[in-house]
């Protein structure tokens, strides 16, 4: 990252929008497609016009499918599915088309598409609106999945996604991209509060924008006793836990994968080799997902490590109290870390 002279402060949401606008200004091929984008992306609309910010009917399978072909036809669409939960109705477009065209065409035809969606819970909206699904999407060969945790990464990864030749799923957590919280949660109320990671919701960003490379993790905190690894909001919970662990004399390294697929295997293995312990913090579902893949990567590399995970184990309950328990919170992370640290 650059020195402070070339940084400014921005919210997570503004960072994405600013990076997008920067790219749109120089690349006419970038267009925005999605429901309600005339309001949600009003700034881009007012600057780039209706030809480049297209309001879609509630027809995700048609417009995500169309975005795939539009990318094949020479555009660089950013298609929004609002919440990643809604990808269910458009899954075929990703599973069988976006992800496979390059392979099917014998490597002749790229699909430079960005699928943008809000993800994650913590604002009490129920299990059909709070899923994360990054590990799930990453299972499909041909899909790149990025999950930023800071404004700088949000903007920088968006820039990289926009110049990537193959489909990228760009997931923004609602606790970080705050307009979603207002839209879907608070609705103008000041009677509700959310556990928003402050370092994620606002922060320094490079000026001018620098792309953040896809597939490169970031060490958020150096440590030697345990590696705590994750993405998105999980990173901020992990950092909180690391601070408390430090008070108890344990040194935790916190690794922000930033890209779920492809994984930064080298970076991860270097850290886990050093600490000998890996705790995965994952807001996606536990089984058959990111937490498992990280275990496999470590084992494959022949590293003998203690392993634990704090993930979402079931459908996310609506009740805010139950929801808090279901999501990887700092208390759960601490408990799991302590358990791992005690293992010899």
């Amino acid at each position: 990252m650059k020195t402070n002279e070339t940084m400014k402060t921005m919210s997570f949401a503004d960072a994405i929008e600013d990076a997008l606008a920067t790219a749109m200004a120089t690349d006419e091929r970038i267009i925005i497609i999605g429901e309600d984008v005339h309001l949600l992306r009003v700034n881009l609309l007012s600057r780039f016009g209706r030809d480049r910010v297209l309001a879609a009917p509630i027809s995700e399978s048609a417009f995500v499918g169309a975005a795939v072909a539009a990318a094949m036809g020479g555009l660089r669409p950013v298609v929004e599915v609002m919440l990643v939960d809604f990808i269910g109705v458009a899954m075929d477009a990703l599973l069988n088309h976006a992800a496979k065209t390059f392979a099917f065409s014998g490597g002749n035809w790229h699909v430079p598409l960005v699928v943008r969606a809000a993800c994650g819970g913590g604002y009490g909206d129920g299990g059909q609106h709070e899923q994360s699904l990054w590990g799930w999407l990453a299972h499909i060969p041909g899909l790149t999945v990025v999950v930023p945790s800071t404004p700088a990464d949000a903007g920088g990864l968006m820039l990289s996604a926009l110049s990537h030749e193959e489909p990228v799923i760009f997931l923004e957590h609602k606790l970080l991209a705050d307009y979603w919280l207002d839209y879907l949660g608070a609705g103008g109320r000041d009677t509700v509060t959310y556990d928003i990671p402050m370092m994620g919701a606002t922060g320094p960003v490079p000026d001018p924008w620098q792309p953040v490379p896809i597939g490169k993790m970031a060490i958020r905190r150096n440590g030697s006793d345990i590696t705590v690894v994750g993405v998105g909001v999980g990173i901020h919970r992990a950092l909180e836990a690391a601070t408390i662990l430090a008070q108890n004399g344990y040194s935790a390294e916190v690794i922000d994968l930033r890209t779920v697929s492809p994984l930064d295997r080298e970076g991860l293995c270097a850290s886990v080799s050093k600490t000998g312990r890996m705790l995965v913090v994952d807001e996606d579902y536990q089984a058959f997902g990111l937490s498992g893949e990280l275990a496999a990567v470590v084992l494959e590399s022949g590293i003998q490590a203690k392993y634990g995970r704090v993930c979402v184990e079931s459908t996310i309950p609506y009740s805010p109290e139950m929801e808090k328990q279901a999501l990887p919170n700092t208390v759960r992370i601490l408990a799991a870390a302590n358990e791992l640290l005690l293992k010899r």
Partner: protein, 339 residues
Amino acid sequence: MEINHWHCYENMFSSRQFEASVTTVWRSGKISGEMHLSTGEEAITAGTVLQLQAGDAMALDHRGTSAMLMRGVDPFRLLREFMGKSDGLCHGQGGHMHLFSKRHLAASSGIVGATGPAAAGFALANRALRPGSVALAFFGDGAMNQGMLLESMNLAVAWRLPVVFICKDSKWAITTLSASVTGGKLVNRAIGMGMPATSIDGTDVEAVWKTASKSLIRARKGKGPSFIHATCTHPEGHFLGDPLLRIARHPVKEMKKVAGPMIKSAIHLQGASILKRSGSLATVTTLIGKTARDQHFSGKDPLSRLRRQLKKENGRLEKLENELINKNQAVINRALAAR
């Protein structure tokens, strides 16, 4: 079944009362996340749900409150569900978009269009296990662009399922004017799938009742599905705290937040031509203006409409209303007092 206006009014009034209280509770912060009211849809709900019999099923969208109430679900348990409490209808696990009552064969979904397949499935089970019973599918104008709903209309025709498809046309899908993203006429889509379709004023409970009655008879007799297109208004916009409505209602305060970045964007050096930009700005101001105009009843409140009809028996009306107000208040108090 013959319509009983008083019975309808009682149900519609109670539902309105309940949702007014829900609004207060939501504003107080005791309800998390989104809250979509069915306020404005009461005539559509009453005209259909009140004709249901034991064994009939319903598939509800994100505005299930009035249908659940009119089908007989305990308002206390509903509100407690909204509050995420363990004595809620779904023990606090579902929330207002995921209301389930197995006893009433009533299921909700927060996924737009999902009520079509659900009603088809309920109808299939009903035909096999509870002959003569039906399933209702409720959904909005926006949902009419969702493939699974369109598919389910064909499925119901192909299998001659006892489904009544009820499209509550509010003209809006969140902040999008449906007319701007929807081709053709909605009734024609149903006809294109091979089922009879009727367009009615959804604020006229009598019109809804009569049309629904025909559809229900048809379905119960095994003659297959039909489609009702009923117009309505959501005076609170898409959900409580609707952003367009906030701007329309408090332009000075709310527009400030939006206008600054928007104008800045609009006058940015790089970007579309000035013509296109001013077109975009017009798009947005039109949205806000249309919201202000569309999203209030402007004389098309289903409740006051029916009330005017019943006003002749004035004393009875007020007595009933007072009773219902008290009853509602008692439920709300109890729900707020419980822990």
